[in-house]
Symmetry: C2
Subunit: 512 residues, 2 copies
């Protein structure tokens, strides 16, 4: 139980609590408020860029929200904090009130389900709750959803680069502490077939995978023979799961020949060897050369697992190089490519190149004393940080081919059946499109109710269902938007009523 | 308790367990083995590079090791995994044996204490344990130590760039799930003065810090007046902690003037305002302009907190720009710089530019049947992945000025008092130095016993002591090695006996 304090309701930023006390003092603590989670930019990895993102993290976030309690321990922790004059920073009446509230029982949340494609500057999760609770959710919501989307997006790109080749997630050792569990989960949502993470995989009902590392070979080299003896011991222990790491000494001169010898022994005993793993050197070249040796020995059906600093770009390059080199060794290119499996670790679980997701959580409306929603806005000195105000809805519009042509943000209650449908650029005045009936095959609401008054109302299934949503959405996403490098810009549009609300608020606050 | 499976002994990679079963089958499970944690390269952020790293993560790792148990739940999880022939992958005799062992009670661990400067290719943590347990530790050890060192190193650089200005860690919302707690802890070890992370700060006994976000101002703009009313409410709630975020509408035209108005009211009531925070726009320019306004109003003593995508390079650039612009507005440069405080989030907790620490854990020796240590080696197809074999010690040699001149790796038992002390380059033949008695002021062993047979034997103190170790080590590190960009290369050397052991092993295994 030692971790409750650091993973419960105080897994938050200090200012959420100072603001909470201020709302309480100002008599605004109970006031219904609406906050939105949105992200301002797709991950940009420097040499390559994402044109879409994959929503993830909702399940673990709701788990957290359901169990986080403002209990005695939380109150006592806050009681110990001092103000600048040496007195208590948080006073007893506020802490008592927080303990009465206790948790997130009055929160309602709608969101785009995990696995779906999502786009920048759209509200992908919307919280409606008493102001204090909506505020107190912020840090954990951003922590859970930002990182998960970052990794699911990266994994989705890695999986696309693998063109049907299996992707295994191996990143625990370079992941960020227990965040490694979120990394594995998000990678699986993004399309990784299996993870090496044992506990998390078991929790999700997906078998963990793995074989052996260099250390096993080293141990045999040191005290029990050598690489061949290590491989034999592995084949004895796992005759039907025999996948051997062949680069501990020298891949082509030692590892592959020893593996083939053991494979022959296995075959003689009626087992089918699985394959080899390469973890260093010129992976593409070594894969081709190893395949030629395996084929010549009658093991054309074995897999070749590649690992070592892989990401979507290295996989793309490896596949190109393999396609170029394979014929020189008499190998069929398609057959050669189809036996490749990719073990992806560090670069996937840290989203190498862009390790943080630019997601924010902004107040968009608060009910006034009369009960009417009043839109909230932040103007700021950086125009790209400007969020859209008001109580809104999010839609995806599909064109006549069934391909997504725009995500459209509207004020709540707008008629999306009207044609032509006018959709406008959110920041460039006068830029927009008018879609007539022949150009729109479907309009789909993207936000779904997840929690109502603290109760989970949605069952989006598990990892398998999230993966299916990803595949369905990618099938309906333009190939240009899915491009790994310099993707085409997907349209995110707004309606005239929303744009007018934004303009009028900016003018009002600038004037005031 | 829902997280025991995913944060306990199965917080590991699948292959640790397949190797464990193989060692058990081969009769090697109990064999004493020695593994080392080392990192192959300092973080390279692209435009800037680290010349040293800061050790961190040991405390939480030992906590994990002390509590992780191979219990019924773990055994049952493994029992559900299938082999390629459909049978059990892990058999009952192995699982029973693992349950008898139960945990890491036979593990001994020595390590460089948290907060100390460490260098590449040196053994910074050494495990000695029965082979199965030494192997099973790997994933969690790497997960805990790699990420923590990565963030402590980044924080150390940020703190150095701030030149005495306070650094606040704000990164929870972009950190990787509950890894955010490790991020905050590591940032504090690396020299951040405070963190916004409430639960973790409380656990560490360091007060969390924070004030308010844009949402608070937006809420007042929407239903309770505007920015001025928001600032007044904040000043009423926190008269002795009044630090106001001034960029929600317009920093110079609205935020700072409103803040000054509220500061004057506070002053009239006998309180001392703390300062302002800037979170968007040209931070350096706005800081100078805001300072001029604050000074003119009689608030020269107030702080200016800067935030928004800060890292060591942006802080360096901001300070340069402030130094250049301050005189134009009649401000004293030193006074201006000394009032700056840096709120650092995403880029610190994700180690932006290089988000994974290149740390590995390698078998270096195993006892043979006769009880003698046999060195283990991995040769590999990538020469830079070649680890040093054998049972070794790690030393730091200080020159006549008391500055660290080299970290030296030796075989255990070598005499480090001999002079001249011959230290050799680990990979370039013939490159080395011979240090005579006048060139060596001290030789310090770096590895300290942490755990002996499962019992914690060291008390390295808390965050405060770790921070002190960092400061002491940086004081004894060459300024060139500490440089933010293109640092001078610190010497990591080996002795002749170790080099000869490595060469003989390579030749033996290549010949074999």
């Amino acid at each position: 139980m030692r971790n409750v304090l650091t993973t419960g309701i105080l897994f938050t930023d200090h200012y959420q609590l100072t603001m909470a006390q201020l709302y309480f003092r100002a008599g605004l603590g109970d006031r219904p408020a609406r906050f939105e989670h949105t992200f301002r930019a797709y991950p940009d990895y420097g040499t390559h860029q994402a044109g879409y993102a994959i929503a993830a993290g909702l399940g673990p976030f709701v788990d957290w929200m359901e169990t986080a309690r403002f209990d005695d321990e939380a109150a006592d922790a806050l009681r110990s904090l001092r103000s600048g004059d040496g007195g208590a920073l948080f006073e007893d009446d506020f802490l008592d009130w927080m303990q009465q509230i206790g948790g997130f029982g009055d929160v309602s949340l709608s969101a785009v389900p995990e696995g779906r494609v999502v786009h920048r500057n759209t509200p992908i999760a919307v919280v409606e709750a008493p102001l204090v609770m909506a505020q107190l959710l912020e840090s954990s919501l951003l922590n859970h959803l930002n990182y998960a989307a970052l990794i699911a997006t990266k994994a989705s790109r890695v999986v696309e680069a693998a063109h049907g080749g299996s992707v295994l997630e191996f990143g625990l050792r370079r992941a960020h502490g227990f965040g490694g569990n979120g990394a594995s989960r998000s990678a699986l949502i993004g399309g990784a077939e299996f993870s090496s993470n044992v506990g998390l995989s078991h929790e999700l009902g997906i078998p963990s995978k793995g074989t052996h590392g260099h250390s096993m070979v080293q141990v045999f080299m040191a005290i029990a023979g050598g690489e061949l003896e290590a491989f034999r011991a592995y084949a004895d222990a796992y005759p039907d799961d025999c996948l051997l790491l062949v680069d501990t000494i020298n891949t082509l001169e030692s590892g592959v020949p020893n593996a083939i010898r053991v494979f022959e022994e296995l075959k003689g005993r009626g087992h089918r060897p699985v394959g080899i793993r390469l973890d260093s050197g010129d992976l593409a070249h070594l894969a081709v050369r190893s395949a030629a040796l395996l084929d010549a020995a009658g093991f054309a059906g074995t897999s070749i697992v590649l690992s070592s600093q892989l990401d979507e770009l290295t996989i793309w390059q490896i596949r190109n190089q393999v396609a170029e080199e394979a014929p020189r060794y008499g190998l069929d290119v398609d057959q050669m490519l189809s036996r490749l499996v990719y073990g992806v670790g560090s670069r996937m679980v840290t989203s190498d190149g862009d390790p943080s997701f630019d997601g924010v959580y902004k107040a968009v409306a608060v009910r006034d004393a009369a009960g009417a929603w009043q839109p909230a806005i932040k103007i700021s000195d950086s125009p790209d940080k400007l969020a859209l105000p008001g109580v809104k809805s999010l839609w995806r519009v599909y064109d006549e081919r069934g391909i997504a042509t725009a995500d459209v943000i509207t004020l709540e209650g707008e008629d999306m059946e009207r044609r032509p449908l006018e959709v406008l650029h959110p920041t460039r005045p006068g830029v927009g499109r008018s879609l007539d009936v022949s150009q729109v095959s479907a309009v789909e609401p993207l936000l779904e109710p997840v929690v109502e008054n603290g109760r989970r109302v949605a069952d989006f299934g598990g990892i398998v269902e999230a993966r299916s949503r990803r595949i369905a959405d990618l099938d309906r996403l333009d190939a240009g938007v899915r491009r790994l490098v310099n993707p085409h810009t997907y349209h995110v549009s707004v309606t005239r009523p929303l744009l007018e609300l934004k303009q009028s608020l900016i003018e009002a606050h600038r004037a005031g």
